[in-house]
């Protein structure tokens, strides 16, 4: 089916969305091309996940496998994880260390910079074969506070432009300066469409998450909005929860005295989210597996300046607080798949809280417990996909 034939009926009302974008295969395939392989940037690693020269990590952008390599010159490069000869995946483990990159199929050998060093039988190749044409295919990449971004598209703006309006939040979420230490992963698959996974908002937390009520825990002053490239940013002062409900109150204690108690979230369009909540520093790499499944890798970090006590506190808090089975976050996963189940019910859905019957302009900031700013993302989505309103 040609792209131009893709048709979605988009309601005229600005706060209303068609449900079929959450499960249609043809829409999903077009999303891969127009969004994931289109002019957007994607966080793929933090430098602390591959701290040494020769360290590598694998991930996906959309469904495309990528290989992130810490080169022997100190530069981090992002390649398609696919041999330029016959397409074999070059690395298959999540993380590892290597001196060179060798394809197992025909033993083509590449440097950590992606240059083809040699190929067995090269004398019998086509007379036109040039080694320099067969290096690993490299993606455009850039770095902010140690977080590595990559894009599949030459049409993507410069990374600094893409990040506009998130820098302050991102810096705070990444421990101030990005000098982090990896402390582990939690990985799971949610039975939901990638857009449902990414559509959380400020309206639900005190309602869905019973933990906030049980702890008599309320958010303080802050900001909540969406940038012009569709990134959600949120910062809130957080009051210290009252002891009493938990036997181990340390799960919800702030022990990092280097920053004020606050919660900071940057949710990049299209998917990956960076969260600093309590003393947990968390990057949630996410990618779609199909219209109905989203895989999320929760990567957790400590700061290089942490005392041994603070390091241990971060490990214990990261393990039980914010992940797929976290005290205050498990219900998010539960509603992701319940929303997806309900999206099959034909018709439309609509955002209400904070919506004043008129289109919103990016950057758009709303009250902390409003949901309307997500509509700015949806407008970005609609335009990226080329869907016309009714």
């Amino acid at each position: 089916m040609a792209d131009s034939e893709l048709s979605v009926r988009w309601p005229a009302a600005y706060n209303t969305l068609p449900k079929d974008v959450f499960y249609r295969r043809d829409v999903y395939d077009a999303e891969l091309a127009r969004i994931f392989y289109g002019p957007e940037w994607h966080p793929v690693a933090h430098r602390s996940e591959i701290p040494n020269k020769g360290d590598f990590k694998t991930l996906q952008i959309g469904e495309a496998p990528v290989l992130i390599v810490h080169g022997d010159d100190g530069k981090v490069r992002v390649f398609y994880n696919s041999c330029p000869h016959r397409g074999t995946q070059l690395q298959i483990c999540a993380r590892g260390h290597t001196k060179e990159i060798e394809c197992p199929y025909h033993r083509w050998l590449f440097s950590l910079k992606g240059d083809l060093l040699g190929a067995p039988g090269i004398a019998e190749f086509s007379a036109n074969f040039k080694k320099e044409d067969f290096g690993l295919r490299e993606l455009r990449s850039g770095e902010f506070c140690g977080l590595i971004f990559a894009t599949c598209s030459d049409a993507a703006p410069e990374l600094t432009e893409f990040l506009k309006g998130t820098e302050d939040y991102l810096g705070k979420a990444l421990g101030g300066d990005g000098r982090l230490t990896l402390i582990g992963y939690q990985k799971t698959i949610y039975g939901t469409n990638w857009k449902e996974y990414g559509d959380n908002e400020g309206y639900h937390p005190p309602l869905l998450h019973r933990a906030f009520r049980l702890l008599k825990w309320q958010g303080g002053k802050g900001s909540n909005g969406v940038t012009e490239h569709g990134h959600k940013v949120m910062e809130a002062e957080v009051q210290r929860p009252q002891p009493g409900f938990l036997d181990d109150h340390s799960l919800v204690e702030f022990r990092d005295t280097s920053t004020p108690p606050r919660s900071v979230i940057v949710s990049f369009w299209p998917m990956t989210t960076i969260v600093k909540h309590m003393d947990v520093i968390n990057v949630r790499y996410a990618f779609p597996l199909s219209p109905d499944e989203t895989e999320v890798h929760y990567a957790y970090f400590a700061h290089q300046d942490d005392s041994p006590e603070l390091y241990e506190h971060r490990v214990r808090q990261a393990s039980n607080l914010l992940g797929p089975s976290g005290f205050i976050s498990l219900e998010d996963g539960a509603v992701f798949s319940r929303v997806h189940g309900g999206s099959r019910g034909l018709g439309t859905v609509a955002f209400q809280k904070g919506y004043a019957d008129k289109p919103l302009e990016a950057p758009c900031f709303v009250a902390q417990n409003d949901e309307a700013s997500n509509l700015v993302r949806w407008e970005h989505y609609r335009k990226s996909m080329g869907f016309a309103r009714d």
């Binding site: 402390i183 992963y185 949610y190 219900e331 319940r338």
Partner: protein, 145 residues
């Protein structure tokens, strides 16, 4: 066996009663464990946290998550007697799950490395470490393994 029976009944008080007064439970992926990365999927490394786990499931999350029934299949690999009634036990496990729509699949598989205290007819865990071969779980885990 009391342990897996309690979990398969979704009886969290029964689960808690399988642990000694001072005990801990940690459920971690092999990926983290083998790489020396300490973050776990569940780190209930004190009595207080074991009790909190029961509260999470029975009080905090109830009514929101999509429930599932498990069956734990275990196979003891090794059992070594220590001192003061302590035994170090290694056991393979495989856990199936059945969702509300009736479909079943494997949830996780891995190995337990446990310290068991035996006094008379009473056997309880001093520590229980579940190392999951399963790195990416097919759904979010609600119950301990």
């Amino acid at each position: 066996m009391a342990y897996i029976a309690a979990l398969d009944r979704r009886d969290m008080e029964g689960w808690l009663s399988c642990f000694a007064d001072e005990a801990g439970y940690v459920c971690i992926t092999r990926e983290n464990h083998d790489a020396g990365l300490p973050v776990a999927l569940m780190m209930d490394d004190t009595r207080a946290r074991l009790k909190d786990r029961v509260k999470f499931i029975n009080e905090v999350w109830s009514g929101t998550f999509e429930d599932y029934a498990t069956r734990h299949f275990v196979q003891r690999l090794d059992c070594r007697a220590g001192t003061n009634g302590r035994f170090d036990v290694q056991t393979n496990f495989m856990v199936s799950y059945t969702n509300r729509r009736g479909g079943s699949d494997i949830l996780v598989t891995g190995v337990y490395e446990d310290a068991v205290l035996i006094a008379g007819n009473d056997a309880r865990f001093a520590s229980k470490l579940a190392i999951l071969d399963t790195v990416t779980t097919p759904r979010y885990l609600v119950y301990p393994v």
